[in-house]
């Protein structure tokens, strides 16, 4: 380690002057988001416009941040809101508490709640941070509502239930590539995404180790 080696550091920093900048100028320019980014939630509908939520409160039960408040009610007989017996008539998520862990999405038996890729939304008081069912429910076209205080960018409202469609709803690897979910308003029954095995949509079954498989159940 001579004196010249010590001076070589100056060469390194000087050369940096002419190199390309790595900064992303955030508000003007945005990096592409990962497919499975966890953003704000949506409540989905069936293809006929019926709400998927049945008010079972499993999402509220599983939520580690206790940010979901759900109350179910019996469907009105003459004008049912959801196909089953009950529907969620109150559905609130407090985004000051939500940690976007997606456990509610995994818990939901009807895939009623999924997440978009939107994270750029802000509030100026605490009550605004609580999204109600009116705001969470998808519109008549099956797309999430673009609320005025949210900064939506193209592509953030598609593939909202990406994680769900990766494998089966139960997360069993046997069901990779098998459609095990209901249709959605505006989309119909969405095709499965490539699973976690990489580019190959149908991984060879022989590679699945029976011992490991047993561990899943």
């Amino acid at each position: 380690m001579g004196v010249l080696d010590y001076l070589r550091g100056f060469r390194v920093t000087f050369d940096k002057l002419f190199e390309e900048r790595v900064t992303t100028e955030y508000p003007e320019e945005k990096s592409p988001k990962p497919d499975r980014l966890h953003g704000r939630h949506v409540l989905n509908r069936y293809e006929d416009g019926m709400e998927k939520c049945i008010g079972c409160e499993l999402c509220a039960g599983v939520c580690p941040a206790k940010c979901i408040y759900v109350r179910g009610q019996d469907n009105p007989l003459d004008e049912p809101v959801s196909p089953g017996e009950r529907f969620g008539y109150i559905y609130e998520i407090n985004y000051l508490r939500c940690i976007h862990c997606d456990l509610c999405v995994e818990a939901c038996p009807t895939q009623a709640i999924t997440e978009t890729k939107l994270f750029e939304f802000s509030f100026t008081n605490r009550s605004d941070a609580i999204y109600t069912k009116d705001e969470l429910l998808v519109g008549d076209d099956g797309l999430p509502q673009n609320l005025p205080w949210e900064d939506w960018r193209p592509g953030e409202d598609v593939a909202t239930s990406a994680w769900m469609r990766a494998t089966s709803p139960a997360g069993d690897a046997d069901y990779v590539g098998t459609v095990g979910w209901s249709g959605e308003l505006g989309y119909g029954v969405r095709a499965p995404e490539v699973g976690q095995f990489g580019e190959d949509p149908e991984p060879p079954a022989a590679e699945v180790d029976p011992v490991d498989e047993g561990g899943h159940h």
């Binding site: 550091g9 390194v12 920093t13 000087f14 940096k16 002057l17 900048r21 790595v22 900064t23 100028e25």
Partner: protein, 409 residues
């Protein structure tokens, strides 16, 4: 003769003297403030460039107004004074570090045609220098002011009534006192050559025709060359340490001492420290340019407005050092405290002392026209002394190291 050797004060026109002096003070003050604003922006931008980043780019074109925005923000922030602080000293300290930074700039000649007109400029029909003051004590004023600046930092840390600022100020006093010795010794080498304390005379002396490279290429008569680089390097390193700039920023080492001496400061008082720090960078660069690179002296292609070229040369040389200081910050990691003290006491002070003796001997040899035999004799004695001193120093260092190991085990 408070303002010294300026020809302005030889005239018998007190009103004109007063007005021109006030004008120079105001211009220097404004120039320095704007320069600090631009320097902070320049540093942030350049460091960003050296980090592959973009840096401030939102306020004004290329973010040039960022400092102004930060200044306004700091001005309107809440001003906190800790309960345990010594309130009077706490309030005094920022000014103790800011005012010396301002005053040093007053003795720097920033323009004038030094080649043809000895740096004299005609302002409103009166001859004067393009510097606020040219006192008789000249460069000693700079040393005095940089010693005063230590008090600002030391008292800031001491009066905060908090331990990290105290540690920072202890480091500051030790560091700045140690490096002031090397700084002064390097300075004496320059004074030996210029034979004057006045900054104007030092700049003027460097405007003359200098030594010739291989007898053909004329070189400027800069003290950088005349004193043989060593005092320049020592002055540059000791000056960086005196400024508490990286890699010598132990005083405010964020990773070790939160913010060092200014941890407890906020709002406008913090802004004053910040201002003083960057102002010191500019004034120290200006002093180095004056002492070693001939100040405003340089070729003057057009007669008549020669003083403008003086300003141009001065600022070109100044920019070089400002760039260098930012470059240092982007490149070098901070020294450990013992490395800092080793560098100061075991390397810089002995080197500058030995070089000073060498220069003095050379001057005496020139003056008394020594014969070859005398030169060889002097060189022999000098070499012998050097060897003895070096071995004594080495022995002392190794004895100290051995003692240190004893204490550890």
């Amino acid at each position: 003769m408070l303002f010294g050797l300026d020809p302005l004060y030889l005239e018998d026109a007190w009103l004109a003297e007063l007005l021109i002096t006030v004008l120079k003070v105001v211009v220097a003050f404004a120039l320095l403030l704007v320069a600090v604003m631009l320097m902070i922006w320049f540093e942030r931008k350049l460091v960003s460039d050296m980090h592959n980043r973009i840096g401030p780019n939102m306020a004004g074109p290329w973010g040039i107004l960022q400092t102004l925005a930060d200044g306004v923000k700091l001005f309107f922030k809440e001003d906190l004074i800790p309960d345990k602080s010594d309130r009077f000293v706490f309030k005094l300290a920022p000014y103790l570090s800011l005012i010396p930074a301002f005053l040093v700039f007053a003795i720097v000649p920033i323009g004038g045609d030094f080649v043809n007109k000895a740096g004299v400029v005609r302002l409103f029909g009166h001859d004067t220098y393009l510097q606020v003051a040219d006192p008789h004590i000249g460069i000693l004023f700079f040393l005095a002011m940089s010693s005063m600046a230590v008090y600002g930092i030391m008292l800031a840390g001491w009066s905060s009534g908090s331990k990290y600022p105290l540690l920072g100020s202890v480091r500051a006093s030790a560091q700045m006192v140690s490096y002031e010795a090397a700084l002064g010794l390097a300075l004496v080498a320059v004074l030996l050559q210029s034979e004057s304390l006045s900054t104007h005379d030092i700049a003027l002396g460097q405007a003359a025709a200098g030594p010739e490279l291989l007898g053909v290429v004329p070189l400027p008569n800069w003290n950088l060359l005349v004193t043989g680089f060593v005092p320049f390097l020592v002055f540059l390193i000791a000056g960086t340490a005196e400024l508490n700039r990286p890699p010598f920023d132990l005083v405010e080492a964020e990773q070790e001492l939160v913010g060092g001496f200014h941890t407890e400061y906020s709002s406008i008082r913090f802004a004053l420290f910040f201002l003083a720090e960057f102002m010191n960078v500019i004034t120290m660069s200006a002093i180095i340019v004056t002492l070693f690179l001939g100040g405003p002296a340089g070729p003057v292609p057009i007669e008549g407005i020669g003083w403008a070229f003086g300003i141009l040369w001065f600022f070109l040389k100044l920019m070089l050092f400002l760039f260098f200081y930012v470059w240092l910050r982007a490149t070098l990691p901070r020294l450990r405290y013992d490395q800092l003290m080793d560098l100061g006491w075991k390397l810089l002070i002995p080197i500058s002392l030995a070089w000073l003796l060498f220069l003095a001997t050379r001057n005496i040899a020139n003056e008394y026209d020594w014969s070859a035999g005398q030169i060889v004799l002097a060189a022999g004695i000098g070499l012998g002394l050097l060897i003895i001193c070096t071995s004594l120093l080495m022995a002392a260092i190794s004895a100290g190291d051995a003692h240190e190991h004893e204490e550890v085990s």
